[in-house]
């Protein structure tokens, strides 16, 4: 059954939908967690410390998310390759009636997000790109996540990179999230406008939430 399911276009689309939904869920939680930066240094560092002190939760979660990400990536690329093969001769005159920019650039935005994830991990998780901000500790001797983030974001190149990445994430989510109910067969004519609206709204909220942090650091709200 699994072979038939994964072999079918509809089955694979469902997998992309489910994995996308999980990744979207992670992005929401991750954003909410990070937004604690606006509560100040102590709550954020305490939150980070708490997470680090739960390795039995953290590591399975990390492994799970990585697996989900890889499945999402693998299946999406597989579909994308098939899609290219399905039209070997392109049209001379190309036009689009109602497909959104977001929907037409999913593979590109997805790959950009992948690159960003690698950078983001190197930056904040492994401390490889800016070690000077990574080894700071706060007054309670905890890893000073707050300082690491704020100091990093004061660098225009870094905050610019994050803003740009969030723009692509937003584009990706705006199509991806509203597609989930379609791919999983929950959609119908009554709900379609709501799902479309909700997908775009969610993407925009994520964008605003995540970009508020580098912007706040740049303009000096976060010190």
């Amino acid at each position: 059954m699994c072979k038939e399911f994964l072999g079918s276009s509809v089955g694979r689309k469902a997998v992309v939908g489910v994995t996308g939904f999980i990744l979207f869920g992670f992005v929401v939680v991750h954003t909410l967690g990070n937004l604690q930066i606006f509560l100040g240094r102590d709550p954020l560092n305490a939150y980070a410390y708490k997470l680090q002190s739960l390795p039995w939760l953290l590591w399975p979660a990390r492994v799970f998310l990585l697996a989900v990400l890889l499945v999402h990536l693998w299946i999406s690329l597989w579909l994308a390759v098939e899609n290219r093969r399905a039209r070997p001769t392109p049209y001379v005159f190309k036009d689009t009636v109602q497909a959104t920019l977001a929907s037409r650039t999913m593979v590109m935005t997805g790959l950009i997000i992948l690159l960003f994830i690698v950078y983001h991990l190197l930056h904040f998780t492994f401390g490889a790109t800016n070690p000077e901000f990574f080894h700071l500790t706060d007054a309670k001797g905890r890893h000073d996540v707050y300082a690491m983030v704020v100091l990093s974001y004061r660098n225009y190149w870094i905050s610019g990179t994050y803003l740009l990445a969030m723009f692509f994430l937003c584009l990706h989510l705006s199509h991806g999230v509203s597609s989930i109910p379609q791919s999983l067969g929950w959609n119908d004519e009554r709900w379609d406008p709501l799902f479309k609206w909700a997908g775009r709204a969610a993407a925009l909220v994520i964008f605003m939430g995540n970009s508020s942090m580098p912007l706040a650091a740049v303009v000096g709200i976060l010190k």
Binding site: R87, Q98, G185
Partner: protein, 246 residues
């Protein structure tokens, strides 16, 4: 009205093909797009050049034969219309019009603008029917079907099998075509016994034929001459996932 046409010419399936340019003059705004091509063909024949091959039959928007990509849009700019119902009044005098065949791996070009769409027939052959032999039908009013259900089924059944959905889809996917038939039959009580098997077989066949996958861009819906809704695709996805999980 006068136009400049850029048209795909290809002598046979084996030929590589190329775009050719032709002027057409004195076109009446009341002509259909196909009648304009008729005029071009009369011209070409008079000049000793082989006329353009293009598919057409009923010329009233129901047989599904016509299959022209006009300026990058399947069946041209007029919504809810096939190319045979598209009239020249929708274009501006002096326009350049690019006319191409449906492009998809599953729709090989046979000549000029004529493609082989038999893949769609094979999808129906895989299960797009209700297995009832002639003679074994019960009294028609013995089976009550609500007006809403019947009308919904009719919306899906209105598909004319032209393939514009495939042609316009960025991925050359046949999801809308397949979904329309799956939904039509799944909605009706007559279609219940084969419901699960049908959707599995039809999707398997669709995939084998080399169509692409749906990425929910809904270009198909925008060009469908019968305005078949993509909600039928969601319905088919639902049918499929349900069928796989039982």
């Amino acid at each position: 009205m006068n136009f400049r046409l850029k048209i795909w010419r290809q002598r046979s399936a084996e030929d590589r093909g190329r775009m050719a340019e032709y002027p057409v003059k004195d076109v009446s705004p009341d002509m259909s797009f196909l009648e304009m091509l008729d005029v071009l063909n009369e011209d070409l024949t008079q000049k000793g050049e082989e006329p353009l091959a293009f598919e057409h039959d009923c010329r009233e928007g129901i047989c599904g034969a016509c299959s022209l990509m006009i300026n990058g849009i399947a069946h041209g700019p007029e919504r809810a219309a096939t190319a045979c119902q598209l009239h020249m009044r929708h274009f501006k005098d002096g326009d350049t019009l690019t006319v191409e065949p449906w492009r998809a791996k599953a729709f090989p070009v046979l000549r000029d603008l004529v493609v082989d769409r038999s893949a769609l027939d094979r999808i129906v052959q895989a299960g797009g029917f209700i297995s009832v032999n002639t003679g074994s039908a019960p009294e028609a009013n013995g089976l009550l079907i609500s007006k809403e259900t019947s009308e919904k089924a009719m919306e899906a059944a209105a598909c004319i099998g032209c393939g514009a959905c495939v042609a316009s889809c960025k991925n050359a996917s046949a999801m809308l075509f397949t979904a329309a038939k799956v939904s039509h039959l799944a909605l009706l009580p007559q279609g219940q016994p084969e419901r699960a098997a049908r959707v599995k077989k039809m999707i398997a066949r669709m995939d084998e034929e080399g169509f692409g996958n749906c990425t929910n861009q809904y270009e198909c819906e925008a060009v469908c001459p019968k305005e078949i809704s993509v909600s039928f695709i969601a319905r088919m996805n639902r049918e499929y996932l349900k069928a796989q999980s039982t």
